[in-house]
């Protein structure tokens, strides 16, 4: 087992608290850079998709995982980002302006939703954000002069000379670079007063307020940051799709994002990445599984959503800290090897059970 001796305050503030972190994350980064050269095109596309979902997941994690506000409407921010990207590119605005603009427009929409949502919590907030997402979906369908409605909107590709940034390898690297950037920005926020205030609100609004946290400001900020990041993911997703229609941004996608953060591990950025891998790998695994199941089960309509739902319930009941939480337990088991006690995590678990989705 490892003991970490601390000699100055920097060690608690640094992003990578000890050399082990530097090594493992360095290795991961090297793998991410090397991977596309070793894999064929299909898998590069899949990894890009994981990156996009992970960015959106980080966005929702800020709101649901760290601030404790459940949103069932994040597909709306995803959609706003995607449409902003497509429309602005269509107007001839360069991509290094359109992407930030997509994030900013989604953040602005986030603020508009956030303000009336200040008085709501738990299931009521989930319902309100759900209703909001339906409104946005409707607007995307009806505002034909801009979105082209249900006919759909072609997403212009990003071309620099003969070189296309919006597909293949370059798009993979663009996505991963944005993912790393977003994770770093959120990590910074989390070690600063705003991030701490978010966690404080999640755990006890009353005492957060008594410590000087302005609930309205911090919650609205959380909405804006969360929506902005998800909007940025939406902008990338627009290129992945190539063609936008309101049907790409439905409640199912909002639920998928919520599954992502809960299964990945609520309240951790690792969780957002694990969750993204999960929600993309699961349908593939199911497709393979289907071939081996009797047709009476495998061919049932709704087979996939059913499995999704079961897994979500399983995680909420038995693994409230998600895949990342399970990983921490396995790690702890090996660190403490002969000494691991089953009860080490028990207390946390019973806490999460009663307080979850408050």
């Amino acid at each position: 087992m490892r003991f970490i001796f601390k000699t100055d305050y920097h060690q608690d503030i640094r992003l990578a608290p000890h050399s082990g972190h530097v090594f493992w994350y360095g290795l991961l980064l090297a793998l991410v850079i090397a991977a596309p050269f070793a894999l064929d095109e299909y898998y590069v596309g899949q990894l890009t998709q994981v990156g996009i979902m992970a960015i959106a997941g980080v966005g929702l994690m800020v709101l649901t995982g760290y601030t404790g506000l459940v949103s069932l409407g994040h597909a709306a921010f995803f959609g706003v980002g995607a449409y902003a990207e497509a429309v602005l590119l269509g107007l001839g605005v360069p991509f290094f302006v359109t992407m930030p603009a997509a994030a900013v427009s989604a953040a602005a929409v986030g603020i508009i939703v956030g303000i009336p949502a200040l008085r709501l919590a738990g299931i009521y907030l989930a319902i309100a954000t759900f209703a909001f997402a339906l409104i946005v979906e409707e607007i995307m369908g009806r505002w034909e002069s801009v979105t082209n409605g249900y006919t759909g909107l072609l997403v212009p590709s990003i071309d620099i000379g003969d070189f296309s940034l919006s597909s293949g390898l370059p798009f993979y690297f663009l996505t991963m670079a944005i993912l790393v950037l977003v994770i770093l920005l959120v990590l910074n926020l989390l070690r600063a007063p705003t991030g701490r205030a978010m966690v404080a609100i999640r755990d006890s609004e009353i005492s957060a307020q008594s410590m000087g946290v302005n609930l309205a400001v911090v919650k609205t900020t959380a909405f804006a940051v969360s929506a902005g990041i998800t909007g940025l993911a939406g902008a990338l997703f627009a290129h992945k799709l190539g063609f936008l229609s309101p049907e790409s941004f439905t409640i199912l996608q909002s639920i998928e994002l919520l599954v992502l953060v809960i299964v990945g591990g609520i309240g951790s950025l690792h969780g957002a990445v694990f969750g993204a891998i999960f929600v993309l790998a699961l349908p593939q695994a199911l497709a393979i599984m289907k071939d081996h199941l009797p047709p009476a089960i495998g061919e049932q309509p709704g087979f996939e959503p059913l499995i999704f739902g079961l897994i979500l319930i399983f995680f909420i009941l038995f693994e409230p800290f998600g895949i990342y939480g399970r990983w921490l337990k396995v790690k702890l088991y090996f660190q403490l090897f002969p000494l691991y006690k089953k009860a080490t995590f028990k207390r946390q678990k019973s806490y999460m059970k009663s307080e979850r989705l408050r």
């Binding site: 959120v186 910074n188 600063a192 005492s207 008594s210 410590m211």
Partner: protein, 252 residues
């Protein structure tokens, strides 16, 4: 100058007059204790001062400033900190993180500079950390610094909550039953700490407490509350001799 004054304070919940025309004044440097039977309205007075509730009537004055309608999140910055009767800590965070939130009222950075962790943010974090370490030393919490609140025993949590309140650098500290749920030794510690908070840190204390031993040890003045009304006020000894107070406590 009026340091702290509550005048004719009242709040009604439907028909329940939880606090009903309470007036008292606290001088700087005092330890002022409110006692009274269960449901007398003690915690409600704290909630009125920290602006969780809106009073039906009356005024609250702190350092000559009327704070009766101040925004709840401004109270800490003005110099009033509190603890809660049923500990309200941030359970999924470490002791250190909890104490750093105590510094929130003193932070001036915005989201953008924080997201980039600009040098100004880093400097501020250091200053906050130094203040937090002072409090950790003061209350002997070094051993628990990196532990999650949910893994700590009750007694330690109470100390952490006191520490978090001290991190806001208050001038007036509200303690709601600091000794409830503590054993004899821990209660003795609380008594020493309150003395130190008053003498070394120069903080004025407004306390609600049931343990009469502790009340007698640390209080300069005591106010007795019953059914939301003031029954008596004076030194701990005087108050306990008051026939009205004896009647309220013994029934009859």
């Amino acid at each position: 100058m009026t340091f702290f004054r509550v005048e004719n304070l009242a709040i009604h919940f439907g028909g329940v007059k939880a606090v009903d025309g309470v007036t008292f004044e606290i001088a700087r440097g005092e330890v002022f204790t409110i006692i009274g039977p269960n449901g007398a309205g003690k915690t409600t007075i704290f909630n009125l001062i920290s602006r969780i509730y809106d009073s039906t009537e009356g005024t609250i004055t702190f350092r000559d400033q009327d704070i009766t309608r101040a925004a709840p999140h401004r109270i800490a910055g003005l110099g009033i900190a509190r603890t809660f009767q049923n500990i309200e800590l941030f359970e999924t965070a470490t002791v250190l993180q909890n104490l750093l939130i105590g510094r929130h009222a003193h932070s001036r950075s915005n989201v953008f500079s924080e997201a980039l962790f600009l040098p100004s943010v880093r400097r501020a974090e250091f200053a906050h950390r130094e203040k937090v370490e002072e409090v950790i030393d003061f209350l002997n919490l070094a051993h628990y610094r990196d532990q999650m609140i949910m893994n700590l025993p009750y007694g330690v949590r109470k100390v952490v909550e006191l520490a978090r309140a001290l991190c806001t650098e208050p001038e007036l500290l509200l303690l709601d039953e600091p000794s409830s749920g503590l054993n004899v030794e821990e209660t003795q510690d609380v008594s020493f700490w309150i003395e130190d908070i008053k003498k070394d840190l120069g903080i004025t204390v407004l306390m609600v407490e049931h343990d009469m031993g502790l009340v007698n040890e640390v209080s300069d003045r005591v106010l007795v509350l019953n059914y939301g009304r003031v029954l008596a006020e004076g030194s701990p000894q005087d108050v306990q001799r008051d026939p009205e107070v004896i009647r309220a406590y013994l029934g009859g």
